[in-house]
Each structure stands twice: as structure tokens, then as C-alpha cells.
């Protein structure tokens, strides 16, 4: 997403339900240019009614094969501390109001970044920019 982002009128916000320190590490790894917010109680997820994947979608044969190979190599498996079935999503806000929402049906069911950014640009075209407050 952030590699395709070049519109200064549109901000990028990463939201996850992992602990804040893990998300901070992920954002450094990704070189994420925007804000990174932790939502461990999944308040935003619930508000946007972002669902959970079925067991067979999360633990597909390909995923199970990855785990089987790791066991075969005697690699330690990290015990999940999160809801492994939680899906993600994409949204566009204007101010604090969500105006466009993409809710996936499966873990990999996400729209292409350019489609989201194009929609955000169209909304920015019709949204007056907030002037910074004087201090």
C-alpha cells in the first residue's frame, strides 16, 4: 500500500490487534510512513463488523504444510496469542467517519492498493483540507 501512495492529501493509518510493541516492530520492518495504532480489544474491528475467517480458510492445506515442514525441521512453533481467525479490512475515512469499506470474505481477499488509493483521491478531491491549528 505505502509503496503506491503518493498523494499528500491522503494519510495512511495501520491498525492491528497485536500488542503495540509488535506492531511498532512491524511498521519499522515495513517502513510504514503513517501512524500505527493498536486495537487489542478490536473496538474498530467490531464497529466495522469485520468478521472472522472459517477454520478451513485459515488452516488451509498449504498453511498446514508450512507448519508440517517447520515441525519436520524441528523449528519451534510460536503458540498464537491472538485470534488466528480474525480478518482484516480496508477503509477510507473523511475526518472520523468511515465513508468506504472493504470487508474481506477470506484472509487473502483484499482489494488492490491502487483501487483504494484512487477512491481516497476522489474523496480528497471533494473534501476541503483542514488548516493546521495555530498554537
Amino acid at each position: 500500500m505505502h509503496q503506491a501512495h503518493d498523494d499528500r492529501r491522503v494519510g495512511l493509518v495501520l491498525v492491528g490487534f497485536s500488542p503495540a510493541d509488535r506492531l511498532a516492530a512491524l511498521s519499522r520492518h515495513l517502513r510504514w510512513p503513517g501512524r500505527v495504532l493498536a486495537d487489542p480489544d478490536r473496538l474498530l474491528y467490531h464497529r466495522l463488523q469485520i468478521g472472522r475467517a472459517s477454520w478451513w480458510r485459515v488452516y488451509s492445506p498449504a498453511t498446514l504444510a508450512i507448519y508440517a515442514r517447520a515441525v519436520g525441521r524441528r523449528q519451534p512453533l510460536a503458540k498464537p496469542v491472538e485470534d488466528t481467525r480474525q480478518l482484516g479490512g480496508d477503509a477510507i475515512t473523511v475526518g472520523p467517519v468511515v465513508r468506504r469499506l472493504w470487508r474481506p470474505r477470506s484472509p487473502d481477499d483484499r482489494p488492490p492498493a491502487h483501487q483504494i488509493l484512487a477512491m481516497a483521491a476522489r474523496l480528497a478531491d471533494t473534501t476541503p483540507t483542514t488548516e493546521p491549528e495555530e498554537s
Binding site: R9, L43, L44, G95
Partner: protein, 43 residues
Amino acid sequence: MPATEPVCIDVADLTLTDCVTGRQAALADLRDVNVLVILRHRH
């Protein structure tokens, strides 16, 4: 691919945590247009 849904969902009352500062981040403070990328669980 999921279809986009035009919605009107106010999230101004929600407060999350800024992962860099560790401080609370009120979504009421969101200004202008933002794309929210909401992560799923990662194996």
C-alpha cells in the same frame, strides 16, 4: 476481491493506542482523508 461499500460509520468515540508514542489515540482527531489498513492475523 471484496466490493467497496459506501458507508457512514462514525468512529469518533473510539480510542486506540499509538504504537510509537504509547499514548492513547482518539480517532476523533482524524483529519481530512485517511486510508485505514486493518491487519488480519498473520501466521
